[in-house]
Symmetry: C2
DNA sequence: GCATTAAGACGATACGTCTCGCCTTACCCG
DNA sequence: CGGGTAAGGCGAGACGTATCGTCTTAATGC
């Protein structure tokens, strides 16, 4: 089934790979995703086009790998658990807001989210590699809170996390509002209001 | 400041305009947004390319107008108010789920959401013309419920609506889950749990 | 030595502009 | 009013540029 005579990865140039990532990330910030071209990346990276086509199927795939490579350095540690659920969620979401407000982060992430909307396979990879890990730490934190009795027993934790993260993402992606600390706090408080056990 | 000698709208061909809309909508469903081209639209519509370039700045703008023209026929009536808030929200969100699960609806809406992520001006128009009107009816319904004492007084209704609609949109856009009636019901119940007044 | 590499030629599309007559429309004048 | 005319939109498609994805070549480096 080995389609298309897979190239020999052991002989791959790490130098070129990194140069391609750097070029892709800087170019997407400068010219935007629509005007990002494989030829442009190859040229800035000092790399032959074939080197890109050999290893990636699309510019979106290049960008996804480039972005992931940059993000993987942050190893996800799980959310803090100080015992104060609201405070923990707020502090992490505030940090995430700072990240999403950072121009360097914005261009590639927006581009990937957009490309994913029209490309089912890409969206699955995007979700699995970038969104899901970030979501899971919230799920775990909420589950811990649930076991501690801070969150009502019957609640679907997964949906609760969506209620927290989706408004945040949506606001940012569609530019329907600013991601301020105030907003984050309001959101956390309102979500938690619905999660607390009733007496 | 009239840039570029604006064309005379009074002499515009309604026939061509409609043909362009039809062609754009059917083509985006057939070949997808990435492979949708102005030339393709012009060709299928039996229209000169210049006729498209004269009236729209981009294929995204064409699609937005085409889609909006189709949707505008649904005049938004506001949400039902039977007195049972949960039931009202569930019935409308279920209908929306059906709509979002409809293939005819999916391709253009996905394409526009994606294009908006990378194009700030387009996203503002997209939000203002398609999302905001739909959001407002929820805001109004919740405000009515708030006045009726069904929703606690201090709550930011706008954020509450985001908690309801964003998880729904996000799930659909990123394909992180199915939009089932069960899901809709769970979401409505969990959101409302946080909105109810405490004794 | 052999597969990957940088460089770029290549044909195929699609871009956005332009030019060409044709045709419709707005509006003027009788 | 209502016919005539000029302006401008119209369909068609040629044009030069840009990028696509493939292919060829010679150099490189493991």
């Amino acid at each position: 089934m080995a389609n298309k005579a897979a190239p020999d990865a052991s002989r791959r140039s790490e130098r070129s790979r990194r140069a391609i990532f750097d070029a892709a990330l800087s170019l997407v910030g400068e010219v935007g995703y629509d005007k990002l071209t494989i030829e442009g990346i190859a040229s800035r990276a000092g790399v032959g086009k074939q080197t890109i086509y050999r290893w990636w199927p699309s510019k979106a795939a290049v960008l996804l790998d480039a972005f992931t490579a940059g993000v993987d350095e942050y190893s996800t540690q799980g959310l803090p658990d100080t015992g104060d659920l609201a405070a923990d969620l707020k502090s992490v979401l505030r940090a995430t807001a700072d990240e999403f407000n950072d121009p360097v982060f914005q261009a590639p992430y927006r581009a990937l989210a957009a490309a994913g909307a029209n490309d089912e396979e890409l969206s699955r990879t995007f979700v699995a590699r970038l969104m899901e890990p970030g979501t899971l730490v919230y799920v775990e934190r909420l589950r811990a809170a649930q076991e501690a009795g801070e969150v009502a027993a019957g609640i679907d934790v997964r949906v609760a996390v969506e209620m927290l993260l989706s408004p945040f993402s949506q606001r940012w992606l569609m530019r329907t509002g600013e991601l301020t600390y105030d907003y984050v706090d309001t959101l956390v408080d309102l979500v938690l209001r619905g999660l607390r056990p009733r007496d």
